[in-house]
């Protein structure tokens, strides 16, 4: 499959060229459909309402309304910059927490042998498949009782204990660390903590970055938690801010699209810069 020339030697060159053209035409058409929402979001962000809904469709903003950016950043009812920074803080904290806590647990599950390990890891996998809502309400009641409803505590603190998905993902990488490495260090009398910190962690540095990236993307998009726990507009992350704004001002499309644009862009850029790592991470979660 990967090398058509080898498989079908009888095909003549012109036919191959033709099928190649058809293939790329098809793929580019599909790619166009996939990119249309991105493109429409971007050009709408730089149009005014009348231009967005113009018939026939205009495929490029004319003029490019750069002041839509300042309009977005200076609104009283949509503290965009503030919410953007909230999202950065939220995603950054979760990523750091996850990298730390999950590397502890994943090391234990992937590299150390102890009684009960398989039971605890089994429970972890079950927790992974559990619908979140079935544990959400008591946790919500607990946070409310502690008076921390309305803060970022309930959204970030649990990640300092770990997260089933990221532990599962990291464990796949820890399994690949050769056991001889750790055993040699043990014979030298190195403490288990130093083995983890100085020998194993450097081996899985890429994996930690991958997990951090996934945590950032996940948290940047997270909606349900903030919706429940945060009430103050100044504290909203972007996901909740954009939702609230759109629900209240359904007609102000250029501002909404500009908001969506600057919310999506950091993730797109991050992905374009780190594509290989993303794909590696994805491959690790599949089927082991």
């Amino acid at each position: 499959m990967s090398d058509p020339a080898l498989i079908q030697p009888r095909r003549t060159a012109p036919r191959k060229l033709g099928s190649m053209l058809i293939y790329h035409a098809l793929m580019l058409a599909i790619a166009g459909v996939f990119l249309l929402p991105f493109y429409w979001m971007t050009i709408s962000a730089f149009k005014n309402n009348a231009e967005i809904f113009a018939n026939p469709v205009t495929w490029f903003p004319d003029p490019i309304r750069w002041d839509n950016i300042t309009a977005l950043l200076t609104r009283d009812d949509f503290p965009y910059l503030r919410q953007f920074l909230n999202s950065v803080f939220y995603a950054g904290s979760v990523a750091l927490a996850v990298c730390f806590s999950c590397s502890l647990a994943a090391y234990s599950f992937g590299c150390l042998r102890w009684r009960g390990r398989n039971l605890v890891f089994g429970l972890t996998v079950c927790a992974l498949l559990l619908p979140g809502i079935v544990t959400f309400l008591p946790v919500y009641l607990g946070w409310t009782k502690l008076g921390l409803n309305g803060t970022y505590w309930p959204l970030i603190a649990p990640f300092f204990c770990g997260d089933a998905f990221f532990i599962f993902m990291l464990r796949q990488f820890f399994l690949g660390v050769p056991r001889e490495l750790m055993d040699a260090a043990r014979l030298d009398g190195t403490s288990e903590f130093r083995i983890w910190w100085q020998i194993v962690l450097p081996q899985v540095r890429t994996a930690l970055i991958i997990v951090g990236l996934f945590a950032v993307v996940y948290t940047w998009n997270e909606f349900f938690g903030p919706l429940i726990y945060l009430q103050d507009r100044e504290k909203f992350p972007l996901s909740l801010g954009l939702f609230t704004f759109q629900a209240a001002r359904a007609k102000e499309w250029s501002t909404t699209m500009m908001g969506a644009f600057f919310m999506a862009m950091p993730m797109v850029v991050l992905f374009l810069l780190t594509q290989r790592l993303f794909r590696q991470g994805l491959a690790s979660t599949g089927l082991k």
Binding site: F34, I52, R113, F121, R186, E192, F271, Q275, L282
Partner: protein, 312 residues
């Protein structure tokens, strides 16, 4: 695989024992924060949810034991039924379509051309689009009167539906929206396709001139583990669909409850009306349904999933 590891651990020579004890202690210690977290944020709340589900509980005041009354109320609630119907339809239509499309895309992507990298990137991008932002963009794209999609379809001489305004079409629009981010599924399938040994693939090409034969008898059986993986994850997630439904339909499932999803009704019960007992009961029902479905899929999986090395 974990079992195999533990067996090796049990059978390791006694010489290792002493080192093993320190290792065991360290193992527990390293896992301790997670075990505490698992207990506090998952296991104990899970039990409490089943307890609250049998109480009348409005956050303020003490919970009052009512037995199975909440479940009876859910059974009699037409909105719960409407949302359950919508969610079931959403899941049963969107998941299979998504898997077929993702598999098709993966088959198309599974060849080396100058643009392969570009295509893969494009198909993965929608997954990175935050659900709120993506939904908002779709509301604009599919605006019935003046959205670009309908303008283009009309220009082609078609009669497009009113998408999100027509109660008959709205759920399908939500399904359409859910198909957009299929990059993850595609890449999982692509990983499977690229793992098919070259000699198997070439032998199949020699055996039959029809590419269809190869697809059905060689390719599909070899990637059944990926189909299972995508199916389970897809089912679990689509039963919990929330963000897109809330952004598009609000808390009432506009239009005419057509986009009202189970999680939205649950959210309303818990955080609008603060009826915790009722919401907890709804959560346990969702839990039960997802659990049964997952077990069913895994049970049948034995007869249709092929694991390499199984028969050797």
């Amino acid at each position: 695989m974990a079992d195999a590891a533990s067996q090796i651990g049990a059978a390791s020579p006694p010489r290792r024992r002493r080192a093993g004890r320190g290792e065991a202690r360290a193992g527990m210690l390293f896992a301790l924060p997670w075990m505490v977290g698992l207990a506090i944020f998952t296991l104990i709340p899970l039990v409490i949810t089943f307890y609250i589900a049998q109480a009348k509980f409005q956050i303020t005041g003490a919970p009052k034991w009512v037995g199975l009354q909440n479940y009876a109320a859910i059974w009699a609630d037409p909105e719960v039924w409407a949302s359950a119907r919508n969610t079931l339809m959403f899941a049963t239509i969107s998941v299979p379509i998504k898997l077929v499309l993702a598999l098709g895309l993966a088959l198309l992507l599974n060849r080396v051309t100058a643009l392969s990298g570009f295509y893969r990137t494009v198909f993965y991008l929608p997954f990175l689009m935050p659900a709120v932002a993506g939904s908002v963009v779709f509301i604009l794209l599919l605006n019935p009167g003046a959205g670009p999609v309908n303008i283009m379809l009309q220009a082609m001489g078609l009669h497009p539906p009113d998408w999100l305004l027509d109660p008959k079409a709205a759920l399908w629009t939500l399904i359409l929206l859910s198909l957009w981010p299929l990059g993850v599924e595609t890449l999982v399938f692509l990983g499977g396709l690229q793992n098919i040994p070259r000699d198997v693939s070439e032998a199949a090409d020699l055996d039959s001139p029809h590419p269809w034969h190869k697809l059905i008898w060689i390719t599909l059986p070899l990637i059944t583990p990926m189909i299972l993986f995508n199916l389970v994850i897809g089912i679990i997630y689509s039963f919990q669909v929330f963000t897109q439904a809330l952004v598009i339909g609000g808390t009432t499932g506009k239009p005419a409850e057509a986009t009202l999803m189970y999680m939205v009704v649950l959210y309303r019960a818990a955080f609008r009306y603060f009826n915790m007992g009722y919401a907890a009961a709804m959560a346990t029902v969702l839990f039960g349904v997802v659990l049964v479905l997952t077990l069913l899929i895994f049970r049948t999986a034995r007869s249709w999933v092929y694991y390499e090395g199984e028969t050797r």
